[in-house]
């Protein structure tokens, strides 16, 4: 059971120290920044169309030159290694979306599937085809709410910047808090901390005509320091295809306690995934004929 009071102050002491060490804004300072009204007269970039992930489904190797692999604490390094050992047995550990949970932040921004960005003055919507997830990034100058209801994608406040002073916004800076778990950074088996005190900073800008870049800094108590990854997305403008994604429709991976099963709905059986594990055959609800 989650303690609702925890989310009143979603940034832990460790996280706060990491924020300061990283030179990031403190929550209070960020609130002040986010409260600044958008510059009048500045226009917004055209990020319409479709954006597709550049690189593999997991964060390494791209971004390695910036950050290296996730800097895990000894506790979470041990959890990671345990997850790998369990997978080698056939147990799908350390990958919550396998049960159709959404990836959450920051994994969502890996964009396993294409992304659409819809910019309005008050809110920028970031739509991910994977799990049909949407983020609302509030750019209306609001302060952080007194209570943030934890959600997988968190609560995001953004600020548009005109870094080159040409009268046109070019960078969307975002801070996201109140992120619900369980979450992994990707499908590698690296988990984020179960205290769900993650804070994610992003800077999204257009690298060139066909490339959008997101500098993502994740601060989490599973890490020894803030972890920054640069994720790029390529622009699709012609023959854009969007495909509905309903995970519950055909998911085969069932977790019951510590056991995992592979659904064989054709025969009504939960097949074992590891050696020595018995199949689970539910009793039929239909009474046997006399």
């Amino acid at each position: 059971m989650r303690n609702p009071a925890r989310s009143l102050v979603p940034v832990s002491l460790v996280t706060l120290m990491a924020l300061l060490a990283a030179g990031c804004s403190t929550p209070a300072a960020t609130t002040a920044t986010a409260s600044a009204a958008p510059a009048r007269g500045a226009s917004y970039p055209d990020w319409s169309g479709q954006w597709q992930r550049i690189g593999s489904l997991n964060w390494p190797p791209e971004g390695y030159e910036v950050a290296g692999p996730a800097p895990l604490t000894p506790e979470y390094q041990a959890i990671y290694e345990q997850n790998l050992a369990l997978r080698a047995q056939g147990i799908l550990a350390g990958d919550p979306p396998a049960t159709c949970l959404p990836p959450g932040m920051p994994r969502m921004m890996k964009m396993s599937f294409p992304m659409e960005i819809i910019i309005t003055p008050a809110i920028t919507y970031i739509y991910a085809d994977w799990e049909s997830q949407i983020r609302r990034v509030y750019t209306d100058g609001r302060a952080w709410p007194e209570y943030i209801l934890p959600e997988f994608n968190g609560y995001s406040i953004g600020t548009w910047r005109d870094d080159d002073n040409d009268g046109r916004f070019d960078t969307l800076a975002i801070e996201t808090r109140g992120i619900k778990g369980p979450r992994s950074i990707d499908s590698s088996g690296v988990m984020l901390h179960s205290n769900d005190a993650t804070v994610v900073f992003e800077e999204i800008f257009q690298r060139d005509a066909n490339t959008l870049e997101n500098k993502i800094t994740t601060i989490d108590d599973a890490f020894t320091r803030p972890w920054t990854i640069n994720q790029q997305y390529s622009h699709v403008t012609d023959n854009i295809i969007w495909v509905e994604y309903v995970c519950a429709e055909g998911n085969r991976h069932i977790q019951l306690g510590d056991e995992w099963y592979f659904l064989n709905d054709d025969e009504g059986i939960l097949e074992p995934t590891r050696a020595g594990q018995p199949a689970l055959v539910p009793a039929s609800p239909v009474p046997a004929s006399p």
Partner: protein
Amino acid sequence: MSSIRPRAVVPALLFFITLSFATLASAHHSTAIYDSEHPVELAGTVVEWKFTNPHCIIVLDVTAADGSVQRWNIEGGNTSGLFRSGWTPATLQPGDQILVTVRPLRSGAFGGNFSNPRRANGEPVVAVPAGR
């Protein structure tokens, strides 16, 4: 049709093809739970083709060497990637004879993750992208 199980010798090429498909198919979850070191070649008859997320599913009847029929449930890519590659819900029909490479469940149950789907003549199931 019979199943072929090259468990003793796995050609390196087949192994890398399997791994590359794994990258395409693993958006939903890690595929480390499957036995990538012991892929099996299955030849069988399509019972059902499910064009669904998070993975498509082929229900495939495979006649084993002893004459018994094994009913395999094998998952592949997602509808987004498949549709962009030319697959649709009508690509496979019950009764189609196909060949697939399968990384099986480590439990030995007749399930796994498929790659390199081919028609009985060895041609790729889908040759020309239809979604473009």
